[in-house]
Amino acid sequence: MSKTTRIIEVKDLARVEGEGALHVTLKGDVIEHLEFSIHEPPRYFEALLQGRSFREAPDITARICGICPVAYMMGASQAMEDALGITVGGPLRALRRLVYCGEWIESHVLHIYMLHAPDFLGFEDSIQLAAKMPAVVEKALRLKKLGNTLLETVGGGRAIHPINLTVGGFYKLPTKAAIKGLAEELKWAIEASLDTIRLVSTFDFPPIERDYTFVAMRHEDEYAITEGRLISNRGLDIPVQAFHDHFEERHERRSNALHSVLKNGGEYLVGPLARYALNHDKLSPLAQAEAKAAGLGKVVRNPFQSIVVRAVETLQVCEDALRIVENYEEPDDSCITVTPGAGTGSGCTEAPRGICHHTYSLDAEGRITKATIVPPTSQNQGSIEGDLWDVVKANLKRPDAELQWICEQAVRNYDPCISCATHFLKLNIERG
């Protein structure tokens, strides 16, 4: 093998949210340098939250992301509720899960069909996919529309940046008729989700397996989305309030996003593979059976198979949403009364890409004195680079164009939300 230097460089990754880049330098068969960098400008959300009322946090943090605003609204709301000593239960809790199911459907379907499937099918993008497989894309658009409709119905008429979620519940309750009206389309969506699993399970997956430290939420009664404890496959089992005792964020010079690591264990993985591995027993019987039929074990360590796990999770949330819709009774009140006060609280939910953790401190008037938000993509940066090392090593013999293609695909396995990951970097100015 020659010692020729090869450089694989992608200055602007396509089909991901935000601006990221990839650089690999090879000397013969040796990887000299590899980095996944984020050059999306920092957005300083945590700083601009300081001094604002606790009630404003859900709507301000929703603006961090157009794809997963519910994750931010819910995490912020629950952190405030934790700080102020209230719990949202019963039908209000069910409504929260319902709107979150909508977010999962629209996010997972967008990623599966429009952003990731073209990689496996050899298309440049979803437009080529639409030209060659129009029925598949029509189905995807209808599924995504259902996700948007769930958000609009519960979230105050808006699919992007909904406005109806608040600390303690909702500003206005959706009518029983509006919720019940979702049932028929959800029944169709369950069938469409089964088709999705069956389609993506036929893709060819590069044979890469990694020994991840999985971190996800777990709840005794359900496939955890809106609440639970934080657990790992290496013995972690903590309440969300203890997150910062076990995890820390580090600044890497190459990236505008902080890297989150386990204090005693380095990189870890959040998102579909982690949730699936740690909560397989909480999937519905149908989702478990379909996962098995799709060739998945109870733990999936091949990052390229995340597309199949997303499809299984789409089925799960369509089933969950239908159950909530069928059982829905309008609560007496849209919101629990909340009294401002001093305190510190944490909230954590499973955004489509993985856990999204919030911690806030409040003064006696309920003004935010400190905000710390850890989004999923900042937690997955280490795993993304770890995957890339293995992918490059396993594909050294490929021509540069093919190696670049599979590297980009490996990044897209994570459905990374780079804009989300870059809102919290502290700015240090050194003056000579």
Partner: protein, 149 residues
């Protein structure tokens, strides 16, 4: 020909990117009859759902080409593909250009779809649109109010 839909695409929190929304605001205030109006963040699936069933659609979005701020480009999308350089800063890069080309591939393009792409200059978070863009939005609103598309 049936009703006309005018879609304004943009983000009110990103300076000149609010342009398309301002045009729709103006048309709503003026209560122009027989025009349907829609404001969008630019999500491709949302756009395709919005224009379903319409024969004539106008979409207003902001672009960056290096031209002077406020310059208006028009593209008859039913006749030819939109320039790839129009790909917007939409979420996951799945925006207006994808909506138009995917609709074309699926046979879901309106008979007449005109895209007005207006050159923006400032997209800073939290800033209002510039005076030039506000003036241009007012001019375009007047043109549409006179049913000139």
């Amino acid at each position: 020909m049936g009703r006309t839909l005018i879609i304004g695409v943009g983000n009110r929190d990103r300076g000149d990117d609010a342009f398309g929304l301002l045009v729709i605001d103006g048309l709503r205030e003026a209560s122009v009859p027989d025009l349907d109006l829609f404001q969008s963040h630019g999500d491709a699936a949302e756009l395709m759902n919005a224009w379903a069933g319409y024969d004539r659609v106008v979409v207003i979005d902001v672009c960056r080409s290096g031209a002077p701020t406020g310059t208006i480009f028009t593209f008859p999308a039913q006749e030819r593909p939109l320039p790839a350089s129009l790909s917007s800063q939409s979420t996951h890069g799945f925006g207006l250009v994808h909506a138009v080309e995917m609709a074309r591939a699926l046979g879901r393009l309106p008979k007449e779809l005109t895209v007005y792409a207006v050159e923006g200059g400032n997209f800073t978070l939290g800033e209002p649109p510039s005076a030039i863009m506000r003036q241009a939005a007012g001019d375009l609103m007047q043109k549409f109010a006179q049913r000139s598309f």
